[in-house]
């Protein structure tokens, strides 16, 4: 029988803000991908926390657990689930939830987040975060799914706004209204993905600044930033694809800098999934987020004092 390795978690579970000359800047982390395992282990102080998709660690042993266990000794960890399909018609898969609970107990992540989306229906997993109509019926159903998930995992979860390529004619409320009510009914908090917000705004013809203003900021517990591809629609207009394959775009940085003073201390994460840069380049993107937020906070205080 294999010895079961129980990690002793020497590291505080929650990432801390960093003091800077201008004041405090938020904890900044990166999405951890296997090609960066060794580099991250060699230089764990480069970021304030790591995030992984728990689905990629639902195995018995091997390199995935070896490296995540070692890194968890050094850094706080966040789980970002992609498989629960909470916005779907079917109830969350109990077996999957039980496996996630085991993983949560083992690694003790400071956050567990999921999406305002669905990905499974009728026994098929579609491997994408799919959109749903923002209706009262879907709000009631998703609130129940989120509550059930929180019960099974024994903790509050975060729900993230999605990247949209399509919307539904039957939607009865805005995304922000849906999320605010979801949080109120289920007790979940929110993950504000500013890249997703911008991608959805351009693709649906919405105003990203108005969306940001309407977003229920008091419920935000984590921020995501990522890069997107800029394509063209048939009519020559912009079509953005949420590829996580390049640096964060300037309009996304602008939105982030604007909201950062209101969300001081909220952990911010860089996601990069395709065309992975080397570890130092990824770390520099997280450092930039920390620095921008710190500057924006200092500036806001300066304006308030003046």
């Amino acid at each position: 029988m294999a010895p079961r390795r129980i990690p002793s978690l020497s590291t505080s579970a929650v990432p801390a803000s960093r003091p800077t000359p201008a004041g405090l800047s938020p904890p900044a982390g990166v999405g951890l991908r296997p090609p960066h395992f060794r580099a991250a282990l060699a230089e764990p102080g480069a970021v304030d926390f790591l995030e992984v998709h728990p689905e990629n660690y639902l195995c018995d042993g091997g390199p995935q657990h070896h490296f995540l266990t070692a890194l968890r000794q050094d850094l706080p960890l966040s789980f970002h689930g992609v498989g629960l399909s909470l916005g779907g018609a079917d109830r969350p898969d109990r077996r999957h939830l039980a496996r996630l609970r085991q993983l949560v107990d083992r690694y003790q992540p400071f956050h567990f987040s999921e999406h305002l989306a669905w990905s499974s229906h009728g026994g098929t997993y579609f491997n994408d975060l799919l959109p749903l109509p923002y209706t009262q019926a879907n709000l009631a159903r998703m609130s129940a799914h989120v509550a059930e998930t929180q019960d099974c995992l024994g903790r509050q979860i975060l729900i993230e706004n999605p990247s949209l390529y399509l919307t539904f004619a039957e939607s009865e409320m805005s995304e922000a209204e849906f999320l605010a009510e979801l949080s109120r009914r289920s007790g979940c908090r929110l993950l504000l993905d500013i890249n997703n917000l911008y991608v959805s705004a351009i693709n649906a013809g919405w105003d990203s600044w108005a969306m940001l203003a309407e977003f229920p900021q008091d419920a935000v517990a984590q921020i995501h930033l990522a890069g997107h591809d800029h394509c063209r629609d048939a009519d020559g207009g912009s079509l953005l694809i949420d590829t996580h394959g390049m640096p964060v775009a300037d309009p996304v940085w602008d939105l982030f800098a604007a909201i950062a003073p209101r969300l001081a201390g909220v952990p911010v994460l860089i996601e990069w999934d395709q065309d992975l840069p080397d570890w130092p380049r990824l770390v520099s993107e997280a450092s930039l987020a920390r620095q921008l937020a710190g500057n924006a906070l200092a500036e806001a205080r300066h304006v308030a004092i003046a």
């Binding site: 991908r33 296997p34 090609p35 395992f37 060794r38 282990l41 998709h53 689905e55 990629n56 660690y57 195995c59 042993g61 091997g62 390199p63 995935q64 070896h66 070692a70 970002h80 992609v82 498989g83 999406h115 491997n127 994408d128 975060l129 990247s163 990522a226 591809d229 394509c231 694809i241 949420d242 590829t243 996580h244 394959g245 996601e271 999934d273 395709q274």
Partner: protein
């Protein structure tokens, strides 16, 4: 050879094997695994696959029935169970 002699022969083999064999690289001690992997055997090969990113590279829906293998099949010589040897082929083989 009686049972006891056979048992001692086996014991001798086991003790020789213990003396002859190297200790395998353990899961603990990552440094032991640096540099010993052959190309393609790297330990980060299993990336999981779940992601929350989309893709803008449209590369699905290939016309399979028009395709023939174009990799290294033709340089991979294979002996079939009936003893004949043949390479992979760029064109479907009539059977």
């Amino acid at each position: 050879m009686n049972r006891r002699t056979a048992g001692l022969t086996i014991a001798g083999s086991l003790l020789s094997a213990l003396a002859l064999s190297a200790v395998p690289a353990a899961a603990e001690g990552t440094e032991k695994c640096y540099g010993i992997s052959l190309a393609g055997q790297n330990d980060c090969a299993s990336t999981g696959g779940n992601s929350c990113a989309g893709t803008s590279k449209v590369d699905f829906d290939k016309q399979a029935w028009k395709l023939v293998p174009a990799g290294t099949c033709e340089t991979t010589m294979v002996t079939l169970p009936d003893g004949s040897t043949r390479p992979g082929s760029l064109a479907p083989i009539e059977s």
